[in-house]
Symmetry: C2
Subunit: 336 residues, 2 copies
């Protein structure tokens, strides 16, 4: 059995730093569980100011990805650079060199997941992306293991914390959409350009990835029936309340007449549906299996360390296989 598994992190931003923290601080725990040491050998980062991060040895940093691709000791590449084109290229290059890949990049994965899976398979590599959907909540793992004995009847999830934060503030504090958005931006729950979150593009990417695992079918993001929350008014919120409902931006998947339909849209959720209890920046998702019935998962969908924990969980699962030399026969996370 291999006693050390080496990791490279691409991009040392918020989630990259969270991932490093989890892998470094809980290294003994992870080693105890999987029987091998997981070591971050390289961090690829072009912003040299980050080379002075306290607690991270300066010599692990490099601006040059070829230092990773050409290093046969690196087993797992953790892609955290964001964006679609460059990130996708980097992931494919890693897989082509026989390196396993972990990513939290829903945008790149939602577009290129089939190509990624093909390339992973052709090279005997594992590809995991728990952190791309619902941050710390292990919903992808559940779908690809325990729940995979079910035909999935439907998925209904609140998978975008920004939108949910805004809707919660509108509802609980009677704010207009614009005011709630500004508050979310001031509190770090919304970006300066909030389009991707509030118009449902982010949720659309996530439901594409969830459906790929749950149904083994690929629906491209542009085919998701998508409506955002920017048109929601205090009057809508009030009308919902009168029906004893709350408005939530729901990412959904279900079969209709044999066809898999994906949607992202504001829906009226009855107050006694557990999805209605998801407040502020949290995420929650109900998966209905033909045998398990409804299973609901809830937790933090974002944040440096929670998301880093999801990445580290994937890294540890792959490292356990690498250490045992079972990675070539591991079951693919996604079936598309």
């Amino acid at each position: 059995m291999k006693k050390e598994v080496n990791v490279a992190i691409l991009g040392f931003g918020v989630v990259g730093q969270g991932t490093y923290k989890v892998l470094a601080e809980n290294a003994d725990l992870i080693e105890k569980r999987i029987g091998a040491r997981v070591k971050v050998k390289r961090i690829v980062e072009i912003n040299t100011a980050r080379y002075d991060t306290p607690g991270v040895p300066r010599e692990v940093f490099t601006p040059d990805y070829s230092d990773v691709l050409n290093d046969p000791d690196i087993d797992i590449v953790v892609e955290m650079i964001g964006g679609v084109e460059l990130a996708s290229r980097f992931m494919l290059q890693a897989l082509e060199r026989g390196k396993h890949v972990v990513s939290s990049n829903k945008a790149a994965l939602a577009v290129n997941i089939r190509k990624m899976n093909e390339t992973a398979k052709a090279n005997g590599c594992m590809l995991r992306y728990e952190a791309s959907v619902c941050g710390a909540i292990p919903v992808m793992n559940a779908l690809s293991t325990s729940l995979s004995v079910n035909n999935i009847k439907s998925i209904r999830g609140i998978v975008n914390g920004t939108s949910n934060y805004i809707l919660t503030k509108m509802e609980e504090e009677g704010l207009a959409y614009d005011v709630a958005l500004r508050q979310a931006q001031e509190n770090g729950f919304a970006e300066q350009d909030p389009t991707g979150d509030v118009e449902g593009f982010d949720s659309a990417n996530k439901i594409v990835l969830l459906a790929a695992i749950a149904y083994g079918e690929y629906v491209p993001p542009e085919e998701v029936d998508r409506t955002g929350i920017s048109g929601i008014t205090p009057a809508d919120i009030e009308a919902a309340r009168e029906k004893n409902c709350r408005i939530r931006l729901i990412a959904g998947a279900r079969r209709e007449d044999g066809k898999l339909r994906l949607s992202v849209k504001p829906e009226l959720i009855p107050c006694d549906d557990i999805l209605a209890s998801v407040r502020n920046e949290f995420n929650g998702i109900t998966i209905t299996g033909d045998m398990s019935g409804d299973i609901f998962f809830y937790g933090r969908g974002a944040g440096s360390v929670p998301t880093g924990a999801a990445v580290a969980g994937d890294v540890a699962e792959i490292a356990a296989c690498v250490a045992r030399d079972t990675h070539r026969v591991a079951i693919a996370t996604s079936r598309v």
Copy 2:
């Protein structure tokens, strides 16, 4: 790769039948995912009236466990007979013959988990028991995979549907304990002798098993600080309501001064804690990791088919390893 994995079910009661249904009806789906056919080759059952169950070939039934133990083609034994002594002996015998074991029997496992794990390890076998805690909710799998990169700070769960059903009825319909219990019995949510459920013995077994996975430490059931719900009065419920709380029977685990403490007791849960939203016979559990933060899981904690789905999930995970011949290096579910 092995193309067929054979299973024996011990005990064809409620959960045994649910397990058979899931494995039979979703056999194609499971085969597609793991690349091998999972077949129920034998059902050990002494009640011969059950041999006439529609949809189950009569020839799979036998009253004699040695037909399983002496059959080298049987890879996985699913123990569903209940009770402690005989069930434990049957599981150990299976492991000693090199057969993997899946069980939903929290009572037997909570007492004998260390011996079971030792025996499994010594014989290169896997032992899984997702269905023993929270039925269909894949919480054991999450703790032993994705969440295992966390030091677990605490577990707080509603893991006994009977007690929660009674507490919900007392709260929502203003019933006295005795009346609510009788209603639960009439509706099939409580047994004629409800002691195990309402006095917290069942929850105690479950928190022992959760803690064994989450903390890698064994605390015997008799050391769980345990109080049931039979002393709860309508006045208690009303006093909770005045504090904007609900009473829930909480199975908890946490470290205090370095020592792992397990408890089962009625607690006041603030209405805005998501645990308070768990109503009727449902289960819900919050797991707090040092990195992931709070993750909450919710679903049906009992029932023939949902529980059978959890058993089938474990069977499929083991069968995937058996088919690939990786079972001997698989990581043990529990670390005690």
